[in-house]
């Protein structure tokens, strides 16, 4: 689309939406929010980007091969980490875990922060794919 007002507003608004999504993801174990809510906000920013700047421009920036690589590697790492912590904690083996840290700081809570980041990545890419499939039938 060649609308100047829409282009300017989108260019200035989208980074702030993404920063808020990253805040919700990274503070998911301290305050309300988490991987799903933050990932949805980042996915909404991708959808807004595609609505404003058109299909051809965004397909060069957010390539399908790159996004599907993020999605599959994220699901794989999530399965490995979650299975590790289930086996380790469920059968009282007490294998090595990340440090628990000071309660209230960002680096704390063991596996919670990396799991939140992976869930946020997978959910944002999935929301963007939903929009593309509903709009054109292809990504």
């Amino acid at each position: 689309m060649k609308d100047k007002i829409l282009n300017t507003v989108g260019k200035n608004l989208i980074p702030f939406i993404q920063i808020f999504g990253l805040y919700v993801i990274f503070h998911g174990h301290l305050s309300p929010g988490g991987g799903f809510a933050g990932g949805t906000i980042i996915g909404v920013s991708f959808i807004l980007y595609r609505i404003i700047f058109g299909k051809e421009f965004v397909q060069n920036k957010l390539r399908f091969s790159l996004l599907i690589r993020f999605l599959t590697i994220g699901v794989f790492i999530y399965g490995v980490m979650k299975g590790y912590i289930f086996i380790s904690g469920g059968s009282d083996l007490h294998w090595a875990t990340p440090p628990l840290g000071i309660p209230g700081s960002i680096i704390s809570g063991g596996f919670l922060l990396p799991l939140n980041i992976i869930v946020g990545t997978v959910v944002s890419v999935t929301m963007y794919f939903f929009y593309c499939l509903f709009e054109e039938g292809e990504i």
């Binding site: 919700v24 929010g33 988490g34 809510a37 949805t40 906000i41 909404v44 959808i47 509903f134």
Partner: protein, 79 residues
């Protein structure tokens, strides 16, 4: 805050009745977004801010966009 919650609940009931009885398809989608917004306020009143964030992002954002896209795919409204 109890009076405010009751007023919001009355709005919620009216908007959910209006979604199912409205003639226009686009209008019912817009009222559905209003329903999601009131529901987010109510989740916050019920001390579940986690659900409020998710309801505001998914219910009022993604679902409205997907429903409007579906309407334009079946050529009920012009793009």
């Amino acid at each position: 805050m109890k009076v405010f919650s009751i007023i919001m609940l009355i709005f919620l009931i009216f908007s959910s009745i209006a979604v199912s009885t409205m003639k226009s398809k686009l209008g019912s989608i817009i009222v559905f977004a209003v329903y999601s917004l009131i529901m987010a306020i109510l989740w916050e009143q019920l001390e579940a801010p986690d659900l409020a964030i998710t309801e505001a992002a998914v219910g009022a954002g993604i679902t409205t966009v997907l429903l409007i896209l579906t309407l334009s795919r079946i050529r009920s409204i012009k793009k």
